[in-house]
Protein backbone atom coordinates (compact mmCIF):
# COMPACT_ATOMS: atom_id res chain seq x y z
CA UNK A 1 0.00 0.00 0.00
CA UNK A 2 2.68 2.48 0.99
CA UNK A 3 4.88 1.47 -1.94
CA UNK A 4 1.96 1.96 -4.22
CA UNK A 5 1.41 5.47 -2.88
CA UNK A 6 5.05 6.34 -3.30
CA UNK A 7 4.98 5.41 -6.95
CA UNK A 8 1.76 7.25 -7.61
CA UNK A 9 3.08 10.45 -6.07
CA UNK A 10 5.70 10.78 -8.73
CA UNK A 11 3.14 10.56 -11.49
CA UNK A 12 0.35 12.67 -10.09
CA UNK A 13 -0.14 16.40 -10.42
CA UNK A 14 -1.10 16.99 -6.80
CA UNK A 15 -0.12 14.56 -4.06
CA UNK A 16 -0.92 14.56 -0.35
CA UNK A 17 1.35 12.21 1.52
CA UNK A 18 0.22 11.74 5.11
CA UNK A 19 -0.75 15.40 5.43
CA UNK A 20 -2.18 16.71 8.67
CA UNK A 21 -3.35 20.15 9.68
CA UNK A 22 -3.99 21.52 13.15
CA UNK A 23 -5.04 24.99 14.15
CA UNK A 24 -4.29 26.62 17.48
CA UNK A 25 -7.45 28.23 18.67
CA UNK A 26 -6.85 30.76 21.42
CA UNK A 27 -8.39 29.45 24.63
CA UNK A 28 -9.53 26.19 23.09
CA UNK A 29 -6.20 24.55 22.46
CA UNK A 30 -5.23 22.60 19.37
CA UNK A 31 -7.87 21.70 16.85
CA UNK A 32 -7.14 18.93 14.39
CA UNK A 33 -8.83 19.46 11.03
CA UNK A 34 -7.00 17.07 8.71
CA UNK A 35 -5.36 13.83 9.81
CA UNK A 36 -3.04 11.59 7.80
CA UNK A 37 -4.46 12.42 4.37
CA UNK A 38 -3.31 10.48 1.31
CA UNK A 39 -4.60 11.81 -1.95
CA UNK A 40 -3.41 11.81 -5.54
CA UNK A 41 -4.87 13.87 -8.34
CA UNK A 42 -4.22 12.80 -11.91
CA UNK A 43 -3.93 15.07 -14.89
CA UNK A 44 -7.24 16.21 -16.47
CA UNK A 45 -9.24 14.43 -13.83
CA UNK A 46 -12.48 15.88 -12.43
CA UNK A 47 -12.15 15.11 -8.74
CA UNK A 48 -14.91 15.95 -6.28
CA UNK A 49 -14.26 16.21 -2.56
CA UNK A 50 -17.57 15.50 -0.91
CA UNK A 51 -18.30 15.67 2.79
CA UNK A 52 -20.61 17.02 5.45
CA UNK A 53 -20.82 20.63 6.67
CA UNK A 54 -17.66 21.82 8.39
CA UNK A 55 -15.51 18.74 7.82
CA UNK A 56 -12.35 20.47 6.61
CA UNK A 57 -12.93 20.28 2.85
CA UNK A 58 -12.03 23.92 2.43
CA UNK A 59 -8.89 23.46 4.52
CA UNK A 60 -7.70 20.81 2.06
CA UNK A 61 -8.35 23.18 -0.83
CA UNK A 62 -6.67 26.07 0.99
CA UNK A 63 -3.57 23.94 1.46
CA UNK A 64 -3.40 23.19 -2.26
CA UNK A 65 -3.96 26.89 -2.95
CA UNK A 66 -1.11 27.72 -0.61
CA UNK A 67 -3.15 29.80 1.84
CA UNK A 68 -2.47 27.29 4.61
CA UNK A 69 0.67 25.23 5.14
CA UNK A 70 0.37 21.58 6.23
CA UNK A 71 1.28 20.95 9.87
CA UNK A 72 2.73 17.56 8.98
CA UNK A 73 3.35 15.32 6.00
CA UNK A 74 4.11 16.30 2.44
CA UNK A 75 2.02 18.19 -0.12
CA UNK A 76 3.44 18.22 -3.61
CA UNK A 77 2.34 19.98 -6.78
CA UNK A 78 4.13 18.55 -9.83
CA UNK A 79 6.55 16.87 -7.47
CA UNK A 80 7.53 20.10 -5.69
CA UNK A 81 6.31 21.25 -2.26
CA UNK A 82 3.58 23.90 -2.41
CA UNK A 83 4.87 27.25 -1.18
CA UNK A 84 2.26 29.99 -1.14
CA UNK A 85 -0.39 30.94 -3.72
CA UNK A 86 0.44 31.06 -7.40
CA UNK A 87 -1.13 31.31 -10.82
CA UNK A 88 -0.45 27.70 -11.82
CA UNK A 89 -3.40 26.90 -9.54
CA UNK A 90 -6.63 28.73 -10.37
CA UNK A 91 -9.22 29.22 -7.70
CA UNK A 92 -12.98 29.81 -7.93
CA UNK A 93 -14.45 31.04 -4.67
CA UNK A 94 -17.82 30.34 -3.11
CA UNK A 95 -18.62 34.04 -2.76
CA UNK A 96 -17.11 34.69 -6.24
CA UNK A 97 -14.47 37.12 -4.86
CA UNK A 98 -14.78 39.24 -7.99
CA UNK A 99 -13.19 42.68 -7.85
CA UNK A 100 -16.24 44.95 -7.72
CA UNK A 101 -14.39 47.98 -9.11
CA UNK A 102 -13.38 46.14 -12.27
CA UNK A 103 -15.57 45.22 -15.23
CA UNK A 104 -16.00 41.65 -16.43
CA UNK A 105 -13.06 42.20 -18.79
CA UNK A 106 -11.02 43.81 -16.00
CA UNK A 107 -11.62 40.83 -13.74
CA UNK A 108 -10.82 38.20 -16.34
CA UNK A 109 -7.63 39.89 -17.57
CA UNK A 110 -6.43 40.65 -14.02
CA UNK A 111 -4.20 37.56 -13.83
CA UNK A 112 -2.28 38.12 -17.07
CA UNK A 113 -2.13 41.85 -16.28
CA UNK A 114 -0.37 41.53 -12.94
CA UNK A 115 1.98 39.05 -14.54
CA UNK A 116 2.95 41.65 -17.13
CA UNK A 117 1.31 40.22 -20.27
CA UNK A 118 0.97 42.89 -22.98
CA UNK A 119 -2.42 44.50 -23.29
CA UNK A 120 -3.24 43.26 -26.78
CA UNK A 121 -2.32 39.68 -25.98
CA UNK A 122 -4.12 39.51 -22.63
CA UNK A 123 -7.26 41.09 -24.08
CA UNK A 124 -7.35 38.39 -26.74
CA UNK A 125 -6.84 35.72 -24.13
CA UNK A 126 -9.51 37.16 -21.80
CA UNK A 127 -11.97 37.52 -24.67
CA UNK A 128 -11.47 33.85 -25.49
CA UNK A 129 -12.47 32.80 -21.97
CA UNK A 130 -15.32 35.31 -21.73
CA UNK A 131 -16.71 33.74 -24.92
CA UNK A 132 -16.09 30.27 -23.55
CA UNK A 133 -18.20 30.89 -20.45
CA UNK A 134 -20.90 32.54 -22.54
CA UNK A 135 -20.55 36.16 -21.40
CA UNK A 136 -19.89 37.86 -24.75
CA UNK A 137 -21.62 41.23 -24.69
CA UNK A 138 -21.07 41.70 -20.94
CA UNK A 139 -17.36 42.62 -21.13
CA UNK A 140 -17.96 46.14 -19.84
CA UNK A 141 -20.52 45.30 -17.14
CA UNK A 142 -19.65 45.57 -13.48
CA UNK A 143 -20.13 42.41 -11.36
CA UNK A 144 -22.98 43.92 -9.29
CA UNK A 145 -25.00 44.20 -12.49
CA UNK A 146 -24.84 40.45 -13.08
CA UNK A 147 -26.93 37.63 -11.64
CA UNK A 148 -25.35 35.11 -9.28
CA UNK A 149 -24.88 32.54 -12.03
CA UNK A 150 -23.26 35.05 -14.36
CA UNK A 151 -20.94 36.28 -11.61
CA UNK A 152 -19.71 32.77 -11.10
CA UNK A 153 -19.13 32.45 -14.87
CA UNK A 154 -16.80 35.45 -14.54
CA UNK A 155 -15.09 33.68 -11.64
CA UNK A 156 -14.54 30.60 -13.80
CA UNK A 157 -13.27 32.64 -16.76
CA UNK A 158 -10.91 34.56 -14.48
CA UNK A 159 -9.42 31.36 -13.09
CA UNK A 160 -9.13 29.83 -16.57
CA UNK A 161 -7.46 32.94 -17.98
CA UNK A 162 -4.26 32.28 -16.04
CA UNK A 163 -4.09 28.91 -17.84
CA UNK A 164 -3.60 27.02 -14.58
CA UNK A 165 -2.58 23.37 -14.34
CA UNK A 166 -5.29 22.74 -11.81
CA UNK A 167 -8.59 24.46 -11.04
CA UNK A 168 -9.74 24.60 -7.45
CA UNK A 169 -13.46 25.19 -6.98
CA UNK A 170 -14.69 25.77 -3.44
CA UNK A 171 -18.47 25.16 -3.39
CA UNK A 172 -18.80 27.60 -6.29
CA UNK A 173 -22.53 27.07 -6.74
CA UNK A 174 -23.43 26.95 -3.05
CA UNK A 175 -25.26 30.29 -3.11
CA UNK A 176 -27.27 29.66 -6.27
CA UNK A 177 -30.86 28.48 -6.45
CA UNK A 178 -31.51 24.87 -7.44
CA UNK A 179 -32.33 25.61 -11.08
CA UNK A 180 -29.47 28.00 -11.75
CA UNK A 181 -27.28 25.44 -10.07
CA UNK A 182 -28.31 22.79 -12.61
CA UNK A 183 -27.55 25.24 -15.40
CA UNK A 184 -24.10 26.00 -14.02
CA UNK A 185 -23.33 22.32 -13.53
CA UNK A 186 -24.13 21.76 -17.21
CA UNK A 187 -22.05 24.76 -18.19
CA UNK A 188 -19.07 23.70 -16.12
CA UNK A 189 -19.22 20.22 -17.68
CA UNK A 190 -19.35 21.78 -21.13
CA UNK A 191 -16.47 24.18 -20.46
CA UNK A 192 -14.40 21.42 -18.94
CA UNK A 193 -14.98 19.17 -21.94
CA UNK A 194 -13.91 21.97 -24.31
CA UNK A 195 -10.83 22.93 -22.31
CA UNK A 196 -9.76 19.99 -20.21
CA UNK A 197 -8.08 20.86 -16.94
CA UNK A 198 -7.46 19.07 -13.74
CA UNK A 199 -10.35 20.08 -11.48
CA UNK A 200 -10.70 19.70 -7.75
CA UNK A 201 -14.26 20.57 -6.80
CA UNK A 202 -15.48 20.82 -3.23
CA UNK A 203 -19.16 20.40 -2.45
CA UNK A 204 -21.59 19.26 0.22
CA UNK A 205 -24.25 18.48 -2.37
CA UNK A 206 -24.33 14.81 -3.35
CA UNK A 207 -26.39 15.41 -6.48
CA UNK A 208 -23.81 17.89 -7.73
CA UNK A 209 -20.98 15.50 -6.85
CA UNK A 210 -22.42 12.59 -8.83
CA UNK A 211 -23.34 14.86 -11.74
CA UNK A 212 -19.87 16.32 -12.18
CA UNK A 213 -17.24 13.88 -11.00
CA UNK A 214 -14.93 11.36 -12.59
CA UNK A 215 -14.04 10.39 -9.07
CA UNK A 216 -15.61 11.24 -5.72
CA UNK A 217 -13.69 11.17 -2.47
CA UNK A 218 -16.00 11.03 0.52
CA UNK A 219 -14.40 12.82 3.43
CA UNK A 220 -14.73 11.94 7.07
CA UNK A 221 -15.86 14.38 9.70
CA UNK A 222 -13.17 16.35 11.55
CA UNK A 223 -10.35 15.46 11.71
CA UNK A 224 -10.91 14.65 8.10
CA UNK A 225 -9.41 12.09 5.79
CA UNK A 226 -10.64 9.97 2.93
CA UNK A 227 -13.46 7.71 4.00
CA UNK A 228 -14.45 6.18 0.69
CA UNK A 229 -13.68 6.54 -2.98
CA UNK A 230 -15.97 6.12 -6.00
CA UNK A 231 -15.23 6.17 -9.71
CA UNK A 232 -18.22 7.59 -11.58
CA UNK A 233 -18.37 6.15 -15.06
CA UNK A 234 -21.83 7.36 -16.10
CA UNK A 235 -21.60 8.90 -19.57
CA UNK A 236 -21.93 12.69 -19.88
CA UNK A 237 -24.24 14.55 -20.11
CA UNK A 238 -25.73 12.87 -17.08
CA UNK A 239 -29.35 12.72 -16.05
CA UNK A 240 -30.37 13.60 -12.50
CA UNK A 241 -33.29 11.17 -12.49
CA UNK A 242 -31.61 8.26 -14.25
CA UNK A 243 -32.07 5.16 -11.99
CA UNK A 244 -28.33 4.48 -11.87
CA UNK A 245 -27.68 8.13 -11.00
CA UNK A 246 -30.19 8.00 -8.16
CA UNK A 247 -28.79 4.68 -6.95
CA UNK A 248 -25.23 6.06 -6.80
CA UNK A 249 -26.46 9.21 -5.11
CA UNK A 250 -28.15 7.19 -2.38
CA UNK A 251 -25.28 4.76 -1.97
CA UNK A 252 -22.63 7.46 -1.61
CA UNK A 253 -24.75 9.68 0.62
CA UNK A 254 -25.24 6.75 3.00
CA UNK A 255 -21.48 6.60 3.62
CA UNK A 256 -21.25 10.17 4.89
CA UNK A 257 -21.19 10.96 8.61
CA UNK A 258 -23.99 13.45 8.69
CA UNK A 259 -24.08 15.71 11.68
CA UNK A 260 -26.96 17.75 12.87
Amino acid sequence: MRMDNKRKINESLIAFHGVSKTFDKPGEGRYEVVRDLYLNVQENEFLVLFGPGQCGKSTILNMIAGFEAPSGGELLCQGRPVEGPGPERGMVFQNTALFPWLTVMGNVEYGPKVRGVKKEERRKQAQHYIDLVGLQGFENSYPVKLSGGMQQRVGIARAYCSEPLVMLLDEPFGHLDAQTRYLMQDELTRIWQVEKRTVIFVTNNIEEAVYLADRILVLRNCPTGVKAEYQITLPRPRNYTDPEFLRLRREIDAVVDHTL
Binding site: P52, A178, T180, I206, L246, R247, R250, D253, H258
Partner: protein, 248 residues
Protein backbone atom coordinates in the same frame (compact mmCIF):
# COMPACT_ATOMS: atom_id res chain seq x y z
CA UNK B 1 -65.24 24.79 9.65
CA UNK B 2 -67.01 27.28 7.46
CA UNK B 3 -68.63 24.81 5.10
CA UNK B 4 -66.82 24.44 1.79
CA UNK B 5 -65.13 27.81 1.96
CA UNK B 6 -61.44 27.56 0.99
CA UNK B 7 -58.77 28.65 3.49
CA UNK B 8 -57.09 30.94 1.00
CA UNK B 9 -58.63 32.35 -2.11
CA UNK B 10 -56.63 34.49 -4.52
CA UNK B 11 -58.67 36.32 -7.12
CA UNK B 12 -57.23 38.17 -10.10
CA UNK B 13 -54.05 39.06 -8.20
CA UNK B 14 -52.12 41.54 -10.33
CA UNK B 15 -49.05 43.59 -9.51
CA UNK B 16 -47.40 46.23 -11.64
CA UNK B 17 -44.27 48.22 -10.88
CA UNK B 18 -44.80 51.30 -13.03
CA UNK B 19 -45.48 49.87 -16.48
CA UNK B 20 -43.85 46.55 -15.68
CA UNK B 21 -46.36 43.78 -15.20
CA UNK B 22 -44.97 41.25 -12.70
CA UNK B 23 -47.99 39.29 -11.53
CA UNK B 24 -50.59 38.72 -14.23
CA UNK B 25 -54.05 37.79 -12.96
CA UNK B 26 -53.33 34.93 -10.57
CA UNK B 27 -56.30 32.83 -9.43
CA UNK B 28 -56.14 29.87 -7.09
CA UNK B 29 -57.54 28.37 -3.90
CA UNK B 30 -55.96 26.51 -1.02
CA UNK B 31 -58.04 24.16 1.14
CA UNK B 32 -57.85 24.11 4.92
CA UNK B 33 -54.92 21.97 6.08
CA UNK B 34 -53.41 21.65 2.62
CA UNK B 35 -49.68 21.58 1.89
CA UNK B 36 -49.19 23.52 -1.33
CA UNK B 37 -45.76 23.86 -2.95
CA UNK B 38 -45.22 26.68 -5.40
CA UNK B 39 -42.52 26.24 -8.03
CA UNK B 40 -41.52 28.26 -11.03
CA UNK B 41 -38.51 29.12 -13.16
CA UNK B 42 -35.74 31.23 -11.61
CA UNK B 43 -36.65 34.91 -11.65
CA UNK B 44 -40.36 34.17 -12.13
CA UNK B 45 -41.54 36.73 -9.59
CA UNK B 46 -41.94 34.37 -6.65
CA UNK B 47 -40.71 37.04 -4.28
CA UNK B 48 -43.22 39.60 -5.53
CA UNK B 49 -45.88 36.93 -5.21
CA UNK B 50 -44.96 36.24 -1.60
CA UNK B 51 -44.64 39.93 -0.72
CA UNK B 52 -48.11 40.51 -2.11
CA UNK B 53 -49.48 37.65 -0.03
CA UNK B 54 -47.96 39.16 3.10
CA UNK B 55 -49.20 42.62 2.12
CA UNK B 56 -45.67 43.97 2.08
CA UNK B 57 -46.73 45.19 -1.36
CA UNK B 58 -50.20 46.41 -2.09
CA UNK B 59 -51.47 44.48 -5.12
CA UNK B 60 -52.33 46.59 -8.16
CA UNK B 61 -55.57 44.67 -8.58
CA UNK B 62 -57.30 41.62 -7.16
CA UNK B 63 -57.95 40.19 -3.73
CA UNK B 64 -56.31 37.76 -1.36
CA UNK B 65 -58.85 36.31 1.05
CA UNK B 66 -58.04 34.20 4.09
CA UNK B 67 -61.17 32.61 5.58
CA UNK B 68 -63.13 34.89 3.28
CA UNK B 69 -61.60 38.08 4.74
CA UNK B 70 -58.94 40.21 2.97
CA UNK B 71 -55.55 39.12 4.25
CA UNK B 72 -54.04 41.22 7.03
CA UNK B 73 -51.05 39.83 8.91
CA UNK B 74 -51.82 42.18 11.80
CA UNK B 75 -55.24 40.67 12.41
CA UNK B 76 -54.85 37.10 11.18
CA UNK B 77 -52.49 34.55 12.63
CA UNK B 78 -50.04 34.07 9.77
CA UNK B 79 -46.45 32.90 10.24
CA UNK B 80 -43.46 33.15 7.91
CA UNK B 81 -40.23 31.27 7.56
CA UNK B 82 -37.58 32.66 5.25
CA UNK B 83 -34.24 31.43 4.07
CA UNK B 84 -32.44 33.63 6.56
CA UNK B 85 -33.18 31.83 9.78
CA UNK B 86 -33.85 34.97 11.71
CA UNK B 87 -33.71 34.16 15.38
CA UNK B 88 -33.13 36.90 17.91
CA UNK B 89 -29.50 36.60 19.02
CA UNK B 90 -30.21 37.99 22.50
CA UNK B 91 -32.87 35.39 23.30
CA UNK B 92 -32.36 31.72 24.17
CA UNK B 93 -33.92 28.92 22.12
CA UNK B 94 -36.85 28.74 24.50
CA UNK B 95 -37.35 32.51 24.56
CA UNK B 96 -37.19 32.63 20.77
CA UNK B 97 -39.95 30.03 20.49
CA UNK B 98 -42.02 31.82 23.12
CA UNK B 99 -41.59 35.20 21.45
CA UNK B 100 -44.55 35.01 19.07
CA UNK B 101 -46.80 33.70 21.82
CA UNK B 102 -46.03 36.69 24.00
CA UNK B 103 -46.66 39.13 21.17
CA UNK B 104 -50.04 37.51 20.68
CA UNK B 105 -50.72 37.62 24.46
CA UNK B 106 -51.39 33.90 24.80
CA UNK B 107 -52.02 32.99 28.49
CA UNK B 108 -48.88 31.78 30.25
CA UNK B 109 -50.08 28.23 30.93
CA UNK B 110 -51.02 27.66 27.31
CA UNK B 111 -47.80 29.27 26.10
CA UNK B 112 -45.74 27.00 28.38
CA UNK B 113 -47.48 23.93 27.01
CA UNK B 114 -46.96 25.05 23.40
CA UNK B 115 -43.29 25.80 23.94
CA UNK B 116 -42.69 22.42 25.61
CA UNK B 117 -44.44 20.62 22.79
CA UNK B 118 -42.44 22.41 20.11
CA UNK B 119 -39.11 21.88 21.88
CA UNK B 120 -39.98 18.21 22.08
CA UNK B 121 -41.04 17.78 18.43
CA UNK B 122 -37.95 19.48 16.97
CA UNK B 123 -35.66 17.78 19.49
CA UNK B 124 -34.26 20.93 21.08
CA UNK B 125 -35.39 20.36 24.68
CA UNK B 126 -31.79 19.76 25.71
CA UNK B 127 -30.72 23.03 24.09
CA UNK B 128 -33.50 25.22 25.47
CA UNK B 129 -31.13 27.58 27.29
CA UNK B 130 -28.65 27.94 24.42
CA UNK B 131 -28.24 31.17 22.52
CA UNK B 132 -28.44 31.16 18.70
CA UNK B 133 -24.70 31.70 18.24
CA UNK B 134 -24.08 28.40 20.04
CA UNK B 135 -26.23 26.44 17.58
CA UNK B 136 -25.56 24.87 14.19
CA UNK B 137 -27.39 26.01 11.07
CA UNK B 138 -29.81 23.10 11.17
CA UNK B 139 -30.65 23.78 14.80
CA UNK B 140 -31.31 27.42 13.98
CA UNK B 141 -33.64 26.37 11.20
CA UNK B 142 -35.48 24.16 13.71
CA UNK B 143 -35.84 27.07 16.09
CA UNK B 144 -37.41 29.02 13.24
CA UNK B 145 -39.87 26.22 12.48
CA UNK B 146 -40.75 25.70 16.12
CA UNK B 147 -41.31 29.42 16.55
CA UNK B 148 -43.58 29.53 13.51
CA UNK B 149 -45.67 26.54 14.58
CA UNK B 150 -45.83 27.53 18.26
CA UNK B 151 -48.49 30.17 17.66
CA UNK B 152 -50.65 27.56 15.88
CA UNK B 153 -50.91 29.75 12.80
CA UNK B 154 -53.84 29.51 10.45
CA UNK B 155 -51.47 29.88 7.55
CA UNK B 156 -47.74 29.27 7.29
CA UNK B 157 -45.76 30.83 4.43
CA UNK B 158 -42.34 29.38 3.76
CA UNK B 159 -39.93 30.92 1.26
CA UNK B 160 -37.22 28.50 0.24
CA UNK B 161 -36.15 27.80 3.83
CA UNK B 162 -33.79 24.94 2.99
CA UNK B 163 -32.17 26.33 -0.16
CA UNK B 164 -28.61 26.35 1.15
CA UNK B 165 -28.53 23.10 3.13
CA UNK B 166 -26.88 19.72 2.47
CA UNK B 167 -29.31 17.38 0.78
CA UNK B 168 -29.35 14.88 3.60
CA UNK B 169 -29.96 17.58 6.18
CA UNK B 170 -32.67 19.02 4.02
CA UNK B 171 -34.54 15.71 3.96
CA UNK B 172 -34.30 15.42 7.75
CA UNK B 173 -35.72 18.90 8.26
CA UNK B 174 -38.39 18.27 5.66
CA UNK B 175 -39.44 15.12 7.51
CA UNK B 176 -39.75 17.18 10.67
CA UNK B 177 -41.76 19.79 8.86
CA UNK B 178 -44.17 17.13 7.60
CA UNK B 179 -44.46 15.73 11.11
CA UNK B 180 -45.38 19.17 12.49
CA UNK B 181 -47.77 19.81 9.64
CA UNK B 182 -49.62 16.55 10.23
CA UNK B 183 -49.76 17.16 13.96
CA UNK B 184 -51.09 20.71 13.74
CA UNK B 185 -53.14 20.57 10.53
CA UNK B 186 -51.78 23.99 9.54
CA UNK B 187 -52.25 25.18 5.97
CA UNK B 188 -48.81 25.58 4.40
CA UNK B 189 -47.68 27.50 1.32
CA UNK B 190 -44.12 26.50 0.51
CA UNK B 191 -42.21 28.35 -2.18
CA UNK B 192 -39.15 26.65 -3.66
CA UNK B 193 -36.88 26.44 -6.70
CA UNK B 194 -36.19 22.82 -5.98
CA UNK B 195 -38.53 20.46 -7.79
CA UNK B 196 -37.45 17.38 -5.89
CA UNK B 197 -38.27 19.18 -2.65
CA UNK B 198 -41.69 20.19 -3.97
CA UNK B 199 -42.53 16.61 -4.93
CA UNK B 200 -41.23 15.34 -1.59
CA UNK B 201 -43.38 17.66 0.52
CA UNK B 202 -46.55 18.68 -1.27
CA UNK B 203 -50.10 17.55 -1.63
CA UNK B 204 -50.49 19.92 -4.52
CA UNK B 205 -47.91 21.63 -6.69
CA UNK B 206 -48.67 24.98 -8.25
CA UNK B 207 -46.48 25.73 -11.26
CA UNK B 208 -45.89 29.39 -12.13
CA UNK B 209 -44.89 30.74 -15.53
CA UNK B 210 -42.06 33.10 -16.28
CA UNK B 211 -42.65 36.86 -15.89
CA UNK B 212 -45.27 38.20 -16.11
CA UNK B 213 -46.15 35.48 -13.66
CA UNK B 214 -49.37 33.56 -13.93
CA UNK B 215 -50.50 30.12 -12.78
CA UNK B 216 -49.46 27.58 -15.42
CA UNK B 217 -51.11 24.61 -13.79
CA UNK B 218 -51.84 22.96 -10.47
CA UNK B 219 -50.87 19.31 -10.12
CA UNK B 220 -52.09 16.83 -7.52
CA UNK B 221 -49.43 14.88 -5.69
CA UNK B 222 -51.09 11.62 -4.58
CA UNK B 223 -47.85 9.80 -3.60
CA UNK B 224 -48.20 8.30 -0.11
CA UNK B 225 -46.04 9.64 2.73
CA UNK B 226 -43.21 9.01 3.48
CA UNK B 227 -41.95 9.34 -0.06
CA UNK B 228 -39.03 7.63 -1.72
CA UNK B 229 -37.07 9.88 -4.07
CA UNK B 230 -35.75 6.89 -6.02
CA UNK B 231 -39.14 5.30 -6.72
CA UNK B 232 -40.44 5.34 -10.29
CA UNK B 233 -43.63 7.25 -9.40
CA UNK B 234 -41.64 9.92 -7.64
CA UNK B 235 -39.22 10.31 -10.53
CA UNK B 236 -42.09 10.45 -13.01
CA UNK B 237 -43.78 13.31 -11.18
CA UNK B 238 -40.48 15.11 -10.70
CA UNK B 239 -39.75 14.86 -14.42
CA UNK B 240 -43.23 16.03 -15.26
CA UNK B 241 -42.86 19.20 -13.17
CA UNK B 242 -39.34 19.74 -14.49
CA UNK B 243 -40.59 19.63 -18.08
CA UNK B 244 -43.16 22.29 -17.24
CA UNK B 245 -40.60 24.85 -16.11
CA UNK B 246 -37.26 23.80 -17.55
CA UNK B 247 -35.27 26.74 -18.92
CA UNK B 248 -31.73 25.66 -18.15
Amino acid sequence: MAGNQPKVRVEHLTKKFGDLLVLDDLNFEVEEGEFLCIVGPTGCGKTTFLNSLTRLYEPTAGDILVNGIPVDPKKQNISYIFQEYSSFPWLTVEQNIRFGLEIKRIPAAEADANVEEMLEVVGLTRFRNYYPRQLSISMLQRVAIARAFATKPELLLMDEPYGQLDIDLRFKLEDELLKLWRRTGTTVLFITHNIEEAVYLSQKIMVLTNKPTSVKTVLDNPLPLPRDVVSADFVALRNKVTDLIKWW
